[in-house]
């Protein structure tokens, strides 16, 4: 069957009332979560994970995906109107978006951001449609050594892009992977780290760990409460029309942002946030009037917003077609599919082709819904950004508690969430990132399985990792990525040795 027939079937599935409803729920919750500062798509997806246990697989993934790309739309609203990033991938939008708002062009900035998001999203979906089948055919030729190497690359990349030090990022990955070992080992049947506690024999649940790590530390540490007087801004529809000049300036950055975002979305480790930062840097570099950036340049809104949405869509390609997520959010998405009994990867495109195409179709539907939700209703969303923490955070606590309790009807998980949440708080205040931890946690068992199989195939000889091109390339990148910073640090140490007292840089 050709792509168009498959896509048509996908639309048929996505247009059923149930799927339409949950797609709408997903993008609405996503926008809401995106608008709320300090609450990321991760927490949104984690909070709705328990709900998906009661839904069929395609409906579940349609809703969860909607939260993710919906969040990319919503984040920009807060960035532009409140000067606080609604989500990390919209952080850079504050620079020029908020300036535009202060200059009385809030409506134009919001329109431009929503339109750019739509363009970026659309290009990402088209690429996903065209390339996923081919990539999954390629992935069929990969063996367990390749899979292991790609996962190592993904985890190291995740540690590299984490803020703070590389070593701490790696530690977060390792500890996360160790936590992923809790429970019964599937190939030997040995119960690991369960201490005879029946609730631990099945392992820690992804939903519990994700809610704990992305909910609790935020609730405990969040300080800056957003406050803005929205009456300053005029957000009527007719204020939104960009001028001919705006339009002319925006068209190329939107295209460039989409292209950049699409590439970065596919690569392991880099996702929407890095795409938006790089797009901003690129636009400023390439602009003939770089001095306008930071003073309300529309390119600084359009580029990053196109980039983060394109990346949000294309990051589904490796997750679904190869079965290896490139970002923590995608790892969570993978976890959600596995809970549904679906193992993403090349087989998924044949075994669950209907699910894949229904998801693609839902992306189109969801993006159109988001355009409608974001442009005429933007005033409503803006008000939600001002919800005080004393209302928001107790609500999140209740949702986490009920969500965790609902999946097992056992209060044990409520205490687990609290314990891991406090652990995550400790990590947060000492500069360890939760995102690499979660990636390690989800990928850990898969890595172990592939390592085990690769070693069996290679008869215990690690040369098996260097005899295949994909695995060789991935491991070479990993080794260089780990080696180069080490060399740089050593060289800097030696270079600065004489000037010890003049503020020698140390590394956290």
């Amino acid at each position: 069957m050709d792509i168009l027939t498959l896509l048509a079937n996908g639309f048929a599935t996505a247009f059923t009332p149930v799927n339409l409803f949950y797609c709408f729920v997903g993008v609405t919750v996503g926008t809401f979560i995106g608008v709320l500062p300090g609450v990321g798509a991760m927490l949104g997806i984690a909070l709705l994970l328990p709900v998906t246990f009661y839904l069929p697989p395609e409906t579940a993934i349609i809703m969860l995906a909607g939260i993710y790309y919906g969040g990319e739309y919503g984040g920009a609203i807060t960035s532009i109107l409140v000067n606080v990033p609604g989500s990390t991938s919209s952080a850079i939008t504050t620079l020029d978006g908020y300036r535009m708002a202060k200059q009385g062009r809030a409506a134009v900035a919001l329109f431009a951001s929503a339109a750019a998001s739509f363009i970026g999203g659309s290009i990402g979906i088209i690429l996903m449609t065209v390339f996923s089948p081919a990539i999954s055919r390629f992935a069929l030729s990969l063996n367990s050594a390749d899979y292991f190497a790609i996962m190592v690359l993904g985890l190291v990349a995740g540690a590299l892009v984490a803020r703070g030090s590389l070593v701490k990022g790696l530690i977060a990955v390792v500890i996360g992977t160790l936590f992923g070992m809790i429970g019964t080992d599937l190939s030997t049947g040995v119960q690991r780290y369960a201490f005879g506690v029946p609730e631990l024999i099945g392992g820690l649940s992804v939903a519990v760990v994700a809610m704990a790590l992305f909910g609790l530390p935020e609730i405990i540490t969040a300080t800056a409460e957003p406050k803005t007087d929205l009456s300053r801004f005029s957000l009527r529809l007719r204020d939104m029309m960009p001028t001919r000049e705006d339009f002319r300036r925006s068209i190329v950055p939107a295209g460039r942002g989409s292209a950049l975002g699409s590439i970065l979305g596919i690569l392991p480790g880099t996702g929407a946030t890095i795409a938006s930062f790089l797009s901003y840097t690129a636009e400023k570099r390439l602009s003939r009037t770089p001095e306008r950036f930071g003073h309300g340049a529309i390119e600084g809104v359009v580029g990053p917003e196109a980039a983060n949405n394109a990346a949000a869509q294309t990051s589904f390609i490796p997750t679904l077609a190869i079965g290896i997520p490139g970002t923590p959010t995608m790892a969570l998405m993978l976890g959600a599919l596995i809970i549904q009994g679906i193992q993403p990867g090349p087989d998924m495109m044949t075994l669950h082709a209907d699910l894949f195409w229904a998801l693609i179709a839902s992306f189109w539907i969801g993006n159109v819904m988001l355009l409608i939700l974001n442009i005429p209703l933007v005033g409503l969303w803006a008000k939600l950004a001002n919800i005080p923490y004393r209302f928001l955070f107790p609500s999140i606590i209740c949702l986490i508690a009920v969500g965790v309790y609902s999946s097992t009807l056992n209060t044990f998980d409520v205490y687990v969430v609290l314990a891991i949440g406090l652990f995550g708080f400790g990590m947060a205040i000492t500069g360890f990132e939760a995102a690499p931890f979660l990636m390690g946690f989800i990928l850990g068992p898969m890595m172990e399985e592939n390592l085990r199989r690769a070693m069996q195939l290679g008869r215990g000889d690690p040369a098996v990792f260097f005899s295949r091109p994909v695995s060789l390339i991935c491991l070479t990148i990993v080794l260089t990525a780990l080696f180069i910073p080490a060399v740089r640090i050593l060289r800097r140490r030696f270079a600065r040795l004489p000037g010890l007292r003049n503020g020698r840089p140390g590394f956290r």
């Binding site: 080992d185 030997t188 040995v190 690991r192 004393r390 107790p394 209060t411 400790g426 000492t430």
Partner: protein
């Protein structure tokens, strides 16, 4: 993943207790996981036992932990991280209230109690507001989880 924090800081003479404790915890976790991994059976590289992979990870984790510890001692750069004890206390209390209350008290009473306790993590919280918020949340959660998803959860104290 923000660009506000950088990798480099100017070291001071003060001891960086946060990082020392953190790296000690990392080392302790690695030791514990590694010690137990040995008990699960290492096997051989060709035929890995249940302990092989966790042991390898524990070794990596332990080495990295030692690296951070050394670096923290040589070039400490403590960061001011204000810890709000009130928040931690009330957030923990809220979860405990939920865990203790949900089975005997049912959904409505527990959600209201959890909300009230949780809201007092913030100094500006007011009791009547929190009770109202809790009641609203209780109804919303009841609609989503019990009515829509059909979860067998006790709603009112003593019965369904």
């Amino acid at each position: 993943m923000s660009i506000t924090r950088t990798d480099i800081c100017v070291p001071t003479r003060r001891t960086d207790w946060n990082n020392i404790i953190a790296s000690l915890i990392v080392i302790a976790i690695s030791l514990a996981f590694g010690y137990m991994a040995v008990g699960y059976g290492i096997g051989s590289t060709r035929q890995m036992g249940a302990g092989y992979f966790p042991l390898a990870l524990s070794i990596i984790g332990g080495v990295l932990g030692v690296l951070v510890l050394i670096r923290t001692i040589i070039a400490p750069c403590p960061e001011e991280q204000p810890v709000d004890l009130r928040r931690i206390l009330f957030v923990c209390a809220a979860f405990v209230v939920f865990a203790l209350g949900i089975a005997p008290m049912g959904l409505f009473a527990t959600i209201i109690a959890t909300t009230v306790v949780g809201s007092f993590a913030h100094r500006e919280a007011r009791l009547h507001e929190s009770v109202l918020l809790g009641a609203g949340l209780a109804v919303a959660i009841w609609l989503i989880f019990v009515v829509l998803l059909g979860l067998p959860m006790r709603v009112l104290p003593g019965g369904f």
